[in-house]
């Protein structure tokens, strides 16, 4: 979606092309209107906060996933990397690894180190993909399986409970009335959308997804870009992991980020990013995540069990991708 103008000729099936572009937005608006009509207290700051905080971590991870998918890859390991970052940070600021007296310093170090570790593991994924030409789904399957195990081994599977306000600010704090995590999300989304459109790196990501061979022969450093993209995905997963444990005041390696890869991929797919790579929309991913979230909220707020919401989510994903395909087939 980097190009501003659409070609003047084609497509043959304007309806699908239109839907491809705006369906997510339309569905989102309709959902909001529907909720205003049927869900009590929908138009309240509290409802907004609930939905935003629940969707934050998904969006942050999904942004990384969008970039990975734009190169024609996929990252299954994000949930496990969240668990690793979530397990590591409390061990640092609670002084289990090394004793640091100053709490601010300890928290700072915990945040930086655990996110860096997640980023490094992401880079490892990228290294497998770029250097050994292993299919992304298999390469990231390694850390999907081993990553959560590592987090569990680190904590011996125990729940780490803590109460460190300095740290928990990232999940519970507010600036100007806005939850801090929402600000993180906004920064990540704006940065990624800008990066994809306006920087060399962004253009190279799309070129690799569009035609890797051609990109390489045009001098694009394919290996480096891929490693960077997976590293970014890892970093963002790390940040999301910290937000999750900050909200919960506890870190459970068995649960942090569980199933996150699916939520993130779903958001990307619903958001209109081409799953085969070469075309990506960060705003679409944001809309996709919001849509899925509000569907869930609508159902829950109206007494439909979460399990049924999963079935609905499945139908939305299929519909979104089907429209995408129809638009492309023209």
């Amino acid at each position: 979606m980097a190009a501003g103008s659409r070609p003047s000729q084609k497509p043959d099936r304007p309806i699908y092309a239109f839907l491809d572009r705006y369906a997510t937005l339309i569905v989102l608006v309709l959902l909001i209107l529907l909720n205003i009509a049927i869900t009590p207290n929908f138009l309240s700051v509290q409802t907004l906060n609930v939905n935003l905080t629940q969707v934050c971590t998904i969006v942050i991870v999904a942004v990384g996933m969008t970039l990975v998918i734009a190169t024609g890859g996929i990252d299954l390991s994000v949930g496990s990397l969240m668990a690793i970052a979530g397990a590591l940070a409390p061990m640092i600021f609670m002084g289990k690894i090394f004793g640091i007296e100053h709490v601010g310093l300890a928290v700072g170090l915990a945040i930086i180190l655990s996110v860096a570790v997640a980023g490094a593991l992401g880079a490892f994924n990228g290294w497998l993909v770029a250097t050994f030409h292993i299919q992304p789904i298999v390469a990231t399957l390694v850390l999907f399986i081993a990553g959560r195990g590592i987090a569990q081994v680190m904590t011996n599977g125990n729940l780490q409970v803590f109460s460190v306000p300095e740290f928990q600010f990232i999940g519970l704090g507010r600036i100007l009335g806005l939850p801090f995590q929402v600000i993180i999300m906004a920064v990540v989304v704006v940065w990624a959308a800008w990066m994809l459109r306006r920087t060399v790196f962004g253009r190279q990501i799309l070129a690799i997804g569009g035609n890797e061979k051609a990109a390489e022969l045009a001098g694009v450093p394919v290996g480096r870009v891929k490693i960077a993209v997976y590293a970014i995905s890892g970093l963002l997963a790390g940040i999301a992991g910290l937000i999750v444990i900050a909200i919960n005041s506890a870190s459970d390696a068995n649960l942090v980020g569980l199933g996150m890869e699916l939520d993130a991929i779903a958001a990307v797919a619903v958001g209109g990013t081409l799953l085969s790579g070469g075309r990506a929309s960060i705003w679409g991913t944001l809309l996709g995540a919001l849509t899925i979230q509000i569907v869930r909220y609508t159902l829950l707020a109206n007494g439909v069990p979460d399990a049924a919401a999963m079935v609905v989510k499945a139908a939305i994903i299929i519909a979104a991708v089907w429209i995408q395909r129809k638009a492309r087939a023209s």
Partner: protein, 328 residues
């Protein structure tokens, strides 16, 4: 071994068989009772569920597809089977397998009619089946009937062998014959090798894909039935991660995710290899030298997958470097 004939996989399927032998040899030399009838039987009994899921996955992957819904499908089918087990063994079996077939049918329809990538299609049905499992069970495990003979499917023995292992063995023999000795099996490989060319060659691509996904769903359903029968309850949240375990087994068995190449026998070896590794971990803990928590299991599995994948990548590159042979 089953079905090596006609398999000209890039890797050959011998690597995984050799690795399996070595791991078993290691266990036999290092631990007493490693090859005791009890241990062998329980390994076979437990892993037969994974074997069934991996068999279906193997066929799907050979078409260059993937089925992420198998784990959720097995969980849902186990709940359905548990409900139906009160009417007897056959109704329980039929209901569980039937539930699996429905999910498979849905996958097949989405992939062949809506032409949506298998990865996304089955990701969606995975969510849907997971949701259905919870809805049908009310978020609880559903006890099976002990009044009927349903539990025999998971706990019973026949000819001194565990029933689930026999079921899996029969499934693998049938799978191997289909793959190697029928045109449907060869069509599966052809689709994975080059779908467009297969269509041009006049082979029934859509129908074959449809049947493959349905069969994969049915096998997942069968695994769900065994799950319920073995543990005495339908388990709505069991089966999480089975799909990835199955994919890992298939990949370890040398089947390429790019499709077109694969072996049923090597997939079975892959399942057993990953299963036996887990058993060795338990024995090692039993010896008391080291104490590895169960959490190490997934770390080791992941590491193992890494080694295999790196090995495959190297072989694939070597193969690609070989010059083409000219016949003139």
């Amino acid at each position: 071994m089953i079905g090596m004939a006609g398999n000209r996989g890039l890797m050959g399927s011998y690597g995984v068989v050799v690795a399996l032998m070595l791991v078993i040899l290691f266990g036999w030399l290092r631990y007493d009772n490693f090859l005791s009838p009890f241990n062998v039987m329980s390994v076979l009994r437990y892993n037969s569920m994974f074997a069934l899921v991996a068999l279906g996955m193997c066929f799907v992957i050979m078409t260059e597809g993937i089925d992420l819904s198998v784990g959720a499908n097995a969980a849902m089918s186990s709940v359905v089977a548990a409900h139906a087990s009160h009417y007897g063994l056959v109704p329980g079996l039929a209901a569980g397998v039937g539930a699996g077939l429905v999910v498979g049918l849905l996958n097949g329809l989405i992939v062949t009619r809506l032409k949506i990538m298998p990865f996304i299609a089955t990701l969606a049905t995975m969510l849907a089946a997971g949701g259905m499992a919870l809805l049908l069970s009310g978020n609880q495990s559903i006890p099976v009937s002990y009044a009927t003979s349903f539990t025999w499917l998971g706990q019973g023995n026949l000819f001194g062998l565990p029933v689930p292992a026999l079921i899996a063995a029969v499934a693998y023999v049938i799978g191997s014959v289909i793959l190697n000795r029928t045109s449907a099996g060869r069509t599966v490989l052809a689709i994975g090798g080059n779908e467009e060319a297969t269509r041009m060659m006049g082979l029934p691509v859509e129908r074959t894909l449809m049947v493959t996904y349905i069969a994969c769903g049915g096998l997942a359903g069968l695994a769900g039935v065994i799950l319920a029968a073995q543990f005495g309850a339908g388990q709505p949240i069991e089966g999480k991660g089975w799909e990835l375990f199955a994919i890992a087994s298939v990949v370890v068995g040398g089947t390429l995710l790019t499709g077109g190449v694969g072996s049923v026998g090597a997939t079975l070896a892959g399942v057993l290899l990953l299963g036996v590794l887990f058993t060795i971990l338990n024995f090692e803990n039993g010896k008391g030298w080291i104490s590895l928590s169960a959490y190490w299991q997934s770390v080791i599995r992941g590491f193992f997958l890494l080694v295999v994948v790196l090995f495959q990548a190297r072989l694939a590159r070597k193969h690609a470097a070989q010059p083409a042979v000219s016949a003139t």
